[in-house]
């Protein structure tokens, strides 16, 4: 497959899940097992195609767009159907297809009440197209469509298959995210008119940047900031996240943490920074401060949690804080760190949510106190996996979590684009507090492990028949477990792919 001409492959990969969702919808509901298998096949084929795309991606030119498609779409507003993929898109795109595939496999055995695999899987496939599209759309309008497309399926996933407070959580998720994204849309439009080039192309606009007055840059960036920051989510826009995660079904949580949150940071990197460099520089200290508050704050909130899943949800706030700290650094290393953190968090936290889901299926509770410890005795393999992933999540070197966190702090010590001259002290403080955040992170994870993993199992569970990790779970989890290790040992897998693209990007920023 020639990456210069095979734009069709990307289009096919992108819309295959959508078509698959339609096909699933056509199947009669009674064919429960067939539907689940069909979903595995669809996501599997899509994943295989993406694997082929990845394999044929020209890594020596990862800074350039490959597999491009550029077709007329809405001529009245100059919006074009512009797809492409560079080193920044590729890892996220790949992750999207991998996670969805794994989720489909997982769903063959696990589906929360009220069942209905057809609807569930169709929504998941719809979600997949939305998520994947966000990472390869190179037209602002198209990007926005994909961006918004994910809201509806996720709303239903939480609302129909969620926990007891699903009504509240789903609506909150939807409205909160929507609120931000409309401001983002307005910012997009403002950019379109200010640039005055009758184009929504991200590439073209990045090349034109900077344009517009300082006031324009500030306000437009603020609009985008609201949209992206809510999605990330940055403190203090994070409160939808714990609720959504806590109530969402396992697969929903996995995709939410694994991919959806990444859309926010991706948006910052792909759109906000290169198109509005001046605004970005003005906002960078604020982003950095909010990010570090998020790190410390998220960790503190984690310490206070009694529900495993909610704890993991709050941990996302902290981890995404590191990602945003990388962005706030406004230099290549920072962007690299942010994007790496994205991927690592997607894999690790996705995996943690899988584990939390399985935990719930075994114990029928997620309350730490009720579980009461002893999992290493009762279900040792599961306990070991939990330890492994928790340790990865707290940023242990050699596992994926480390590189994003360390590099973010490293990058933030000498922020780019002239920020170092003005805010050197601030950024040093940010690094220190972020580093303290890592201790707190270690603290809550160890405490969690101590409370659920160690010791003897309490009375009520001693005679309970609890399954250790099942085959289907091994199949689903193994790729993620291996990726956690692989990315930890070979950070080049992500850093290397992104390198040229990030350099390119910083070129737009003038850094």
């Amino acid at each position: 497959m020639d990456p210069n001409t095979a734009g069709w492959a990307l289009v096919v990969a992108l819309f295959l899940p959508l078509v698959g969702a339609g096909a699933l919808a056509m199947m009669p509901s009674s064919m429960d097992r067939q539907i689940r298998r069909a979903a595995v096949v669809i996501t599997g084929v899509a994943f295989a195609l993406v694997a082929v795309i990845t394999a044929s991606f020209d890594f020596s030119r990862s800074g350039e767009l490959q597999f491009t498609t550029d077709a007329s779409w809405i001529s009245a507003i100059d919006a074009r159907f512009e797809l492409g993929m560079d080193g920044i898109s590729l890892p996220l795109f790949f992750l999207t297809y991998l996670l969805t595939f794994l989720c489909a496999i997982y769903t063959t055995k696990h589906l929360p009440s009220p069942g209905k695999p057809k609807a569930f899987l169709a929504l998941m496939l719809l979600l997949q197209t939305g998520m994947a599209g966000t990472f390869v759309a190179f037209d602002l309008v198209l990007f926005f469509i994909f961006w918004e497309l994910v809201l509806v399926p996720m709303f239903f996933m939480i609302g129909m298959w969620g926990g007891p407070r699903r009504d509240y959580a789903s609506v909150k998720f939807f409205l909160y995210t929507l609120f931000g994204s409309i401001f983002m849309l307005i910012a997009f439009l403002a950019i379109y008119f200010t640039a005055g080039a009758n184009t929504w192309s991200i590439q073209a606009l990045s090349e034109m940047a900077p344009f517009g007055s300082t006031t324009f840059q500030t306000w437009a960036f603020l609009g985008m900031f609201l949209g992206f920051a809510i999605k990330v989510p940055m403190w203090p826009f994070h409160t939808w996240l714990p609720d959504a995660h806590t109530e969402a079904p396992t697969v929903g949580s996995v995709l939410l943490a694994g991919v959806l949150l990444k859309m926010g940071t991706y948006g910052f990197v792909r759109i906000a920074l290169p198109i509005l460099p001046e605004g970005a520089v003005r906002f960078a200290p604020l982003i950095g401060v909010l990010a570090v508050i998020g790190i410390v704050y998220g960790a503190l909130c984690c310490l206070a949690q009694t529900d495993v899943k909610r704890l993991i949800a709050f941990s996302s706030v902290g981890h995404m804080g590191f990602v945003m700290l990388g962005i706030a650094a406004m230099n290549e290393a920072g962007i690299q760190a942010a994007l790496f953190g994205n991927i690592a968090h997607g894999i690790i936290t996705g995996m943690l949510f899988f584990l939390a889901g399985s935990l719930h299926e075994r114990y029928h509770t997620r309350e730490i106190a009720v579980i009461g410890g002893g999992m290493l005795k009762k279900i040792p393999r599961y306990g070991v996996l939990l330890t492994y992933v928790a340790v990865a999540s707290l940023g242990l070197p050699g596992l994926a979590g480390f590189w994003g966190e360390f590099t973010a702090m490293w990058a933030a010590i000498s922020p780019g684009l002239g920020l170092a001259d003005q805010y050197a002290g601030l950024y040093l403080g940010l690094v220190v507090f972020a580093a303290i955040g890592t201790v707190l992170t270690a603290g809550y994870f160890l405490w969690l492990l101590q409370r659920v993993n160690l010791g003897d199992p309490p009375e009520r569970w001693v005679n309970e028949q609890l399954d250790d990790v099942m085959t289907i779970e091994w199949v689903t989890w193994l790729p993620l477990l291996l990726l956690i290790l692989a990315l930890g040992i070979f950070p080049v897998l992500v850093f290397g792919v992104q390198d040229a693209a990030v350099t390119n990007l910083m070129g737009y920023l003038g850094g």
Partner: protein, 487 residues
């Protein structure tokens, strides 16, 4: 005076159809009366064909007071398309409900004659006549369910508020005439421009004229009739009032505002902008508390009118680019609105027809009984909210686009309210969606049997909502060509 017969061919076709319907109704008996619906549909299609033939033409007749251009054609297609859809969703409703079918179809067609005249009218007199042609049959249709207390109450409220606002409008028109000496819109513009300063009395008169159309589009504070009338009227009539009649109001308001009063846009634009803010905010807030789906849709349509008023708030005299963008935004929004709102009413009719239900809680579990209808309703509601990939998104997009054509502080204020309101609106749309999908169905309810016509209409509108959501260019390519300029 030579009459350009082709220019008025759609109107003539519709008029002939209306008369045929009347005749047929008089001569047919029993079940055969149902044929009139078919006659009406065929006539509508004929009118539609004539309209499409006119696409690309610039024609005017009756001394320039009747103009056919792209703008008018797009509107007429919108109306005739809505008419077809309403015919589709009406058929079983009226066939089963012991109504006066013949009269209904006659009145419906008559009302639509008024509507398709509206976008072509360039004279106060013609606008007034068209408006009344829309309204008077509608008064009667609202009261079609003669034995129903609700229906007669709906008609009465509609009528009284309607005539009051028309009277106010006429009073305003008479004063405008006093100042300008003409009822031809371009001449009014010219002579207002020539006046230089605007007399307070003239300003008041302009406001009064706008009030008349404000009633039609149910802008706050002229909206009070809408919820009561929608919920009391037969549902297809409510759909017609909520969509077509409102669109007609906007057609008239566009002509008045952007042609006749264009030179004093600075005067009315802020007022309409404030009305837009109040309308969408009040509509959305009150909709939050509704338990009756039709009333919810009514308040939602009030709010939607608020969104559509935003472009009016952006108008500026002499700024052709801004004004054109505003007009096109309204037009696009109206089309989108028609597609999704008629669809929503269609599903409501299907549910109501079988179960007699309309409270939101009665929609519980609809998804498990009739998943397709539930999915259609979900799509329409999400589209009304503006979620992708539906046409509703692009409607909002068009408005924001118009607002940002040339940014002013007021435009930003309007945008902020648009954002806040969009979020509030999702509260109640999602409430319905949630009820349909996530609440369990009451026991023993039969599945819906919406019938072929209604299903077809809902399906077409569903496809339209999504298709236009993906390819808004199908419509926006047409609307972007439109301008109010007199051919």
């Amino acid at each position: 005076m030579l009459i350009d017969w082709l220019a008025i061919a759609p109107e003539i076709a519709l008029t002939v159809t209306a008369l045929l319907v009347l005749l047929a109704d008089l001569n047919l008996r029993g079940q055969a009366k149902q044929l009139v619906a078919g006659v009406a549909a065929v006539g509508t299609v004929v009118a539609l064909v004539f309209t499409l033939i006119l696409w690309g033409d610039e024609r005017s007749t009756f001394g320039g007071t009747f103009v056919v251009n792209e703008y008018a054609v797009v509107f007429k297609v919108l109306f005739l398309g809505s008419l077809l859809a309403i015919l589709g969703i009406s058929w079983r409703f009226f066939a089963e409900g012991r109504y006066f079918q013949g009269e209904y179809y006659f009145l419906l067609l008559t009302s639509f004659i008024g509507m398709i005249i509206m976008p072509s009218a360039r004279d106060l007199l013609l606008l007034f006549v068209a408006l009344e042609t829309v309204s008077i049959p509608a008064f009667i249709m609202a009261g079609m369910r003669k034995r129903s207390l609700y229906s007669s109450e709906a008609a009465m409220k509609f009528f009284l508020i309607g005539v009051l606002s028309v009277a106010l409008m006429l009073f305003g028109m008479s004063i405008v005439y006093g100042f300008t000496g003409t009822t031809y819109l371009p001449d009014i513009a010219a002579s207002i421009a020539a006046l230089g300063t605007v007399d307070p009395l003239l300003a008041a008169a302009i406001m009064l004229v706008i009030v008349g159309f404000g009633f039609k589009i149910s802008a706050v504070p002229f909206h009070f009739w809408a919820p009561d009338t929608y919920s009391g009227s037969p549902l297809p009539v409510a759909a017609m009032l909520a969509v077509a009649s409102k669109a007609a109001g906007f057609a008239g308001l566009l002509a008045i505002a952007f042609i006749a009063f264009e030179p004093v846009a600075e005067l009315w634009a802020p007022v309409l902008g404030v009305i837009a803010i109040v309308t969408m905010t009040l509509g959305n807030l009150v909709a939050l508390q509704q338990r009756d789906l039709i009333r919810l849709l009514a308040y939602s349509s009030v709010a939607q009118a608020g969104y559509m008023l935003i472009p009016f708030g952006l108008a500026r005299s002499g700024a052709a680019q801004v004004n054109d963008a505003a007009v096109q935004a309204v037009l696009f929004y109206l089309i989108a609105y028609a597609v999704m709102n008629i669809g929503a009413f269609g599903v409501a009719i299907a549910v109501h027809r079988r179960t007699g239900m309309r409270s939101i809680s009665d929609y519980a579990g609809l998804a498990s009984k009739s998943p397709l209808m539930a999915m259609a309703m979900t799509t329409f509601l999400l589209s009304l909210g503006g979620a992708p990939p539906t046409v509703g998104l692009w409607a909002k997009f068009a408005i924001v686009q118009a607002a940002l054509t040339d940014v002013t502080g007021f435009a930003i204020l309007l945008m902020v309210f648009l954002v806040i309101n969009s979020v509030i609106a999702f509260f109640y749309y999602l409430k319905v969606v949630k009820t349909m999908w996530m609440d369990s169905a009451p026991e023993g309810l039969p599945a819906l049997q919406p019938g072929f016509n209604l299903s077809l209409v809902v399906f077409v509108l569903l496809v339209g909502t999504v298709l236009l959501g993906v390819l808004p260019g199908l419509v926006s390519d047409a609307t972007s060509l439109t301008g109010l300029a007199v051919g």
